[in-house]
């Protein structure tokens, strides 16, 4: 299994540009999450989804949008990039009721906004 795949791994954006961070999982997990990790900090939840067609805001949703049209894909959209969005972005997935089996994380996308 590939697990959770994130693309791209690195990206430099100019202020005001837009982009989509891709996330795909092949484990048929219902729950998917987007986190951001600022330098020297822990991960903070941006958006999450408990199934296709269902999304909800996390702790830091401003400046981002998501969609979940399929179980496998959960893209994160930045419409007007700002320097404050410079961060490492992680996608994760899990199935409910797995107890404390933890999450499967992607390898992250390092985004720099200049």
């Amino acid at each position: 299994n590939a697990g959770v795949t994130q693309t791209p791994k690195f990206r430099i954006l100019k202020i005001g540009q837009s982009m989509t961070l891709q996330c795909t999982q092949d484990m048929n997990h219902n729950y998917m999450y987007w986190y951001r990790q600022d330098p020297g900090m822990g991960l903070k939840l941006i958006y999450y989804s408990v199934g296709a067609g269902i999304t909800d805001k996390g702790e830091v949703p401003n400046g981002y949008n998501v969609s979940r049209s399929t179980t496998e894909d959960f893209p994160l959209r930045l419409e007007l990039a700002a320097p404050s969005q410079t961060s490492v972005y992680f996608c994760a997935s899990r199935n409910p009721g797995q107890g404390a089996n933890g999450y499967t994380f992607g390898s992250g996308t390092r985004l720099t906004v200049v």
Binding site: Y31, G40, G42, Y48, A92, G102, S107
Partner: protein, 115 residues
């Protein structure tokens, strides 16, 4: 809202020695999960150990063990026989039981292993 606090930004330990990383959390829930994740320079988030709050027995995974004190809301990680490969950022994390099960992370502890 739940919070997770790691009060040690950096720790160091001699190779083969034992080190303990601290974590406290705040929640009004009685059932929940706690995790320790390791993040090496590769950025990958690696699950080290997990604990279900309803279990009184402390979790162990080879050289890694936890001291879970539910009343004190404390969840420390002990690494025995430290190895060079243990050098990384370590994050404590909390998840509610049921519902959306999202993770709340602490700010991390950077562990250095001294040869």
């Amino acid at each position: 809202a739940q919070t997770v606090t790691q009060s040690q930004p950096e720790m160091s330990v001699q190779e083969a020695e034992t080190v303990t990383l601290s974590c406290t959390y705040d929640t009004s829930e009685s059932d929940y999960y706690l995790f320790w994740y390791k993040q090496p320079p590769s950025r990958q988030m690696i699950l080290v150990i997990r604990q279900e709050a309803y279990k009184q027995q402390n979790a162990t995974e080879n050289r890694f063990s936890v001291n879970f004190q539910k009343a004190a809301k404390s969840f420390s990680l002990k690494i025995s026989d430290s190895q060079l490969g243990d050098a990384a950022m370590y994050f404590c994390a909390y998840s509610d039981f049921g519902g959306n099960e999202k993770l709340t992370f602490g700010t991390g502890t950077r562990l250095t292993i001294i040869p």
